[in-house]
């Protein structure tokens, strides 16, 4: 297990390094002075620009600049957001909580829903219901998620007055304790629904294929020949085998899921990373934008490694074969 872990870290380190370098290069694509990318367009106090210019060695050769840049990152120095009057790192971490609050329940819901739908469809492969599921997942892939969000707002918030359209809590009353929590949940419903539909499209597609694959495996015959009920065979033999690729795909698509959540947030004014992202675009708050890219990219790498570990925990074969090849 330790060697497997090391092998995965050996994969992650160069990827992280590459991400850092990409982020460094981004500074230099700003037309004009790269100092703009590090300070942003928001009025900064006089002298700050010169201080940053010195800290990042912008008058030095490129390699020195890269070295200084990495050094600053290592110190957790992602810059300062003047629009928010807050260091970038803290700002992003604070907002990331709200994104996760939206994203994780949606992921769980989508995983369950997608698997259940696939379990229902796969034994009847080729039927109209099964084709319907495939069509549905294609629709999910093609929906601009922010537009889906807008439609939900129009129907459920504006026309039907069922659910709140914007924000994370009611502004008119100050709630505390349980009622505060319920209020947040109430505001979570619509954005979570939008994100869930988006995720179900991926999960259902993969789950259908993997359930179909597991059903056609020979060990299913052995299980039936033992006299097990088809329900037992489906839940104890087919499902666990089918789940492995599903879990993997969910984990590897963490970045895709994150993107979905970020876009939905902008529609619902959910105060997470997406909202920070769009306001920072408006404010030309470049350090924040770069910080968001850097941290989400790192999160994706971590999610990938975590997925591999989970995969190894779920599938005894991987554990062994990875041992041999690692």
């Amino acid at each position: 297990m330790r060697r497997f872990l090391l092998a995965r870290l050996g994969w992650a380190v160069p990827v992280i390094l590459a991400i850092l370098i990409v982020n460094f290069l981004i500074i230099h694509i700003v037309p004009g002075d790269p100092i703009q990318a590090l300070v942003g367009d928001f009025p900064a106090p006089p002298g700050y620009a010169d201080q940053v210019r010195h800290e990042f060695g912008l008058d030095q050769p490129v390699l020195t600049q890269l070295g200084l840049y990495l050094l600053n990152l290592a110190k957790g120095q992602l810059g300062f957001s003047f629009a928010n009057r807050q260091p970038v790192l803290g700002l992003i971490l604070e907002r990331a909580q709200f994104t996760l609050l939206l994203m994780l329940p949606a992921l769980v819901a989508a995983a369950l829903l997608g698997i259940v739908m696939a379990l229902a469809a796969a034994p009847r492969a080729g039927s109209l219901y099964d084709s319907g599921l495939t069509a549905l997942s294609l629709v999910g892939f093609s929906l601009p998620i922010f537009w889906l969000g807008q439609l939900l707002v129009i129907v459920f918030a504006i026309k039907l007055h069922l659910l709140p359209a914007q924000g994370m809590f009611s502004l008119r009353t100050r709630l505390t304790g349980w009622s505060y929590g319920l209020d947040v949940l109430w505001h979570l419903v619509l954005p979570m629904f939008a994100v869930t539909i988006y995720y179900v499209a991926i999960v259902a597609r993969v789950a259908r294929a993997s359930v179909l694959d597991a059903l056609s495996q020979d060990f299913v015959l052995t299980a039936k020949a033992k006299g097990l009920s088809s329900r037992h065979v489906l839940w104890r033999h087919v499902l666990p085998n089918a789940l492995i690729p599903v879990v993997t795909v969910i984990g590897y698509n963490f970045g895709y899921s994150l993107t979905g959540a970020i876009l939905v947030e902008t529609v619902f004014a959910w105060p997470g990373l997406g909202n920070l992202f769009i306001t920072s675009i408006g404010n030309r708050d470049y350090p924040v934008l770069q910080g968001i890219f850097l941290l989400t990219a790192l999160a994706v790498v971590i999610a990938n490694v975590a997925t591999d570990l989970l995969y190894a925990a779920l599938d005894p074969r991987v554990r062994a074969t990875r041992f041999r090849h690692a």
Binding site: D218, F219, T222, A225, K226, L228, S229, N241, P316, R317
Partner: protein
């Protein structure tokens, strides 16, 4: 040869078709056989002859959506199982008839421990037993150490996997074990070990066995009687010693020649010429006729009845080279073993 008790398994004129995109395929065409308590029977044929389909039909394991038993009866301990619904089947598999399959790696669940896979059978068929203890007993029965209960299939060698698969089947406490090419995926030494184990188990447990194979050598050493199947039809059957001593059907003769790798006058290996039959045809005659060195006009027109050859009625064949006796129907029943 007639016995008192009803056979543990009897197939009577079973016909089974698969629906495929290319049209209907008749995988079994009036196949009959019988296995009595404690008996070891060989079912011999080339790949595609319908032998695995027959084995799976006994446990209702052919794909339910694309296969259909058109005619005939399958009696397990006297009970016709061809009319069972899917739900009824679920209760009927495993006991009194259990099955082991060909490729032990793909037929074991890769992410479930061996012990659990055996325990599932126990829980299904003998739930009062103390499961862990019983798993250990079964592993010992197939000569595996009890520690293997914690292992996953990929951690075992081919021979160990086949033993584990055997333990899964034995946990159902079957009176008949159907073994579908149980040694094909194994090397020669391991084959011999598994065959010896099967023989021991049969003696120890008094269990009948239907051994399905393309390998005549295995049948001669392990089986008391054998059936030769071709294109979904049983062409010849009888006591092993009789069939081996004097194979009657040209197809059987061809099989024996191929197995012994006899060389003809030019020093070439003898093989059965021609391609396996197209099962989609609804041809009337003997399915082997197109490849048969002794084919006659009748062979193409109709399928011959049953002829008893040799003494004591222990050996029978369906071939026009052996004109049927007058009371063919009566002898057929006799030879099938009732």
């Amino acid at each position: 040869m007639s016995r008192e008790a009803p056979p543990i398994l009897r197939l009577q004129d079973v016909s089974l078709t698969f629906r495929t995109r290319a049209g209907a395929v008749r995988a079994l065409n009036g196949a009959s056989l019988a296995v009595h308590e404690g008996e070891a029977i060989g079912l011999v044929g080339e790949s595609g002859s319908g032998k695995s389909t027959l084995a799976r039909a006994v446990l209702g394991l052919n794909p339910e959506r694309s296969s259909r038993i058109e005619a005939g009866r399958i009696l397990i301990a006297g009970r016709d199982v061809t009319r069972l619904s899917q739900a009824e089947w679920e209760g009927a598999r495993g006991h009194p008839v259990a099955m082991v399959f060909q490729d032990p790696l793909s037929f074991l669940n890769p992410i479930m421990r061996i012990g659990r896979q055996i325990a599932e059978s126990i829980e299904r068929h003998a739930p009062d037993r103390r499961v862990e203890e019983r798993v250990g007993e079964l592993l010992a029965l197939v000569k595996l150490p009890p520690s293997l209960a914690r292992a996953y299939p990929h951690e075992l060698s081919g021979g160990m996997r086949q033993r584990a698969l055997l333990a899964v089947a034995l946990a159902c406490e079957p009176r008949l074990l159907i073994a579908d090419e149980p040694t094909t995926a194994l090397d020669v030494t391991t084959q011999a070990e598994i065959l010896a184990l099967l023989r021991d188990l049969r003696e120890q447990l008094g269990m009948a066995m239907l051994l399905i194979t393309h390998d005549l050598g295995i049948v001669s050493s392990a089986c008391e009687r054998l059936y030769v199947i071709y294109a979904g039809r049983v062409l010849e059957w009888g006591r092993s010693q009789d069939v081996f001593g004097a194979p009657a059907h040209p197809y059987t003769v061809g099989l024996f020649q191929a197995a012994r790798a006899d060389r003809d006058a030019q020093g070439r290996f003898a093989t059965i010429g021609g391609e396996p039959p197209d099962l989609g045809e609804t041809a009337k005659g003997c399915p082997f006729a197109p490849r048969c060195p002794s084919a006659m006009a009748e062979c193409i027109q109709s399928m011959p009845g049953v002829t008893v050859v040799g003494e004591a009625g222990s050996h029978a064949v369906r071939c026009w080279l052996y004109p049927p006796a007058q009371d063919a129907a009566a002898t057929a029943g006799h030879v099938f073993g009732s």
